[in-house]
Subunit: 240 residues, 2 copies
DNA sequence: TGTATTTTTTTTGTCGACATAAATTTTCGC
DNA sequence: GCGAAAATTTATGTCGACAAAAAAAATACA
């Protein structure tokens, strides 16, 4: 009897093309980590994932290596791999870098954008406003991230865009914690702040764009800092 | 007859521990790419590498995925993987980000360093000066990179340190091109500029550190730009 | 009963093999 | 002889299995 080969490679009955599985696993896990569906510190089991995605361990491992490169998971040699902890001790550094990137990217967007950029930015701003009105926290956070990434892209500097994206994604985990305790009132003032920033970009007013972005960053940082200080329980439960 | 297993896992007759091979392959290839021993655009053959390092393709692939995450290689789906091209078109953006990181990290070092940091920085500065005197280009470039990374570490902000390290490593390929045409006279003025920067850091003079780092960056950028413009042949041969 | 040592279990790291996609060569029709 | 289709080659993507390392469980001994 000749050997036969059963080609599985499916999830939810949907067949994948060769090579597409890795990216899918990567994106899926990435989202689940960023949206805190996978808690920081929780273990990641390769066999379990390979069953879930109907793939062998090899492509799963490739996705995990990528996530580790992004700093989203930590690999303890020969033993467990876990979802990265949120680094509360490094929060001041994080805020410093985040603020600088807010300013630099918005500044560059004012200098380098074109009309098509503005359209995309407006579109994402509308998504953001809608989510705020609908009190939909997860969508709001994701839209906020996409809004600022789009501004960064309009600035046309891939180095800043990459660092900023990474910071915003790390920040989504923190924002998720923050807003989960304030589920009812979402930050309506951010909507108008965003609109002021768009206006400054559109006017190519570099100095104003810089200033507004700086204030916007300060605002966010201050709110999160107040939250972390006011709720040491969170600090205790999330950091090892 | 029972199956027997021959444990190879060696390179240059030196046995590796389980799990150590991947890191070794990663570091080795990383260095060869950064020092231009592997030319931009040159193909990377998994089978060839697995023979060279006496490993199977699986750990080789893991190292390649990491290099791809760093942007040092590009993976064309289902076909070749090649050493990343140097992005000459993106050089202005690169210089902008590099300059900002020079300033921010040196500034933070002036604010946050401790005596042990200064010792390490001085030690690397001495290595740099020695290499300049010895007209040893590769060592000079590597020491310069380590010098600035150490300053960044003294600044105590891992986000800046990571981006800066990445930029400096990308920059090593460009510097390598630049100095290979000026093999005889190495930049002695950088030695004194470095020493001025150390003095400003040591004095905790944040404003001066920022200023000196900015000028240092301008100096480097101006020299490389002049080189790229003056030698379009390089431009042609390296960019796709 | 408590502790040290051995055994078992679990999970990761690595391997060799096969399947598949793209490039290359060969064959075929005109 | 020339272009298109078919066959071959080459290198990648994926798989199932084995081996080693660490943790957990079981046993031995006081």
């Amino acid at each position: 009897m000749s050997k036969q080969r059963v080609k599985a490679n499916v999830e939810n009955g949907k067949a994948h093309r060769r090579g597409a599985g890795v990216g899918h696993v990567y994106e899926t896990l990435r989202n689940e980590i960023i949206e805190l569906k996978l808690a920081p510190g929780s273990p990641i089991d390769e066999v379990q994932l390979s069953e879930r995605f109907s793939l062998s361990r090899t492509p799963i491992r490739e996705a995990l290596v990528r996530l580790a490169s992004d700093g989203l998971i930590e690999t303890l040699p020969n033993r467990a791999t876990i979802v990265s902890h949120i680094d509360f001790l490094g929060l001041p550094q994080f805020f410093d870098a985040l603020s600088l990137m807010y300013r630099v990217t918005t500044r560059l967007a004012a200098a380098n954008h074109d009309p098509a950029d503005l359209e995309r930015i407006w579109s994402l701003q509308k998504e953001f406003a809608t989510a705020v009105n609908a009190r939909d926290v997860l969508t709001m956070i994701a839209a906020n991230r996409n809004f600022h990434v789009e501004i960064a892209k309009a600035g046309r500097n891939r180095y800043y865009t990459e660092l900023f994206t990474q910071l915003l994604d790390e920040g989504r985990r923190i924002l998720r914690l923050y807003y989960s305790s304030f589920n009812d009132e979402l930050p309506v003032q951010y909507v108008t702040e965003h609109e002021d920033m768009i206006a400054a970009i559109s006017d190519r007013d570099v100095a104003l764009a810089d200033q507004l972005a700086g204030r916007h960053a300060e605002q966010i940082v201050r709110q999160i800092q107040a939250f972390v200080i006011a709720d040491p329980k969170t600090n205790f439960s999330m950091a090892i």
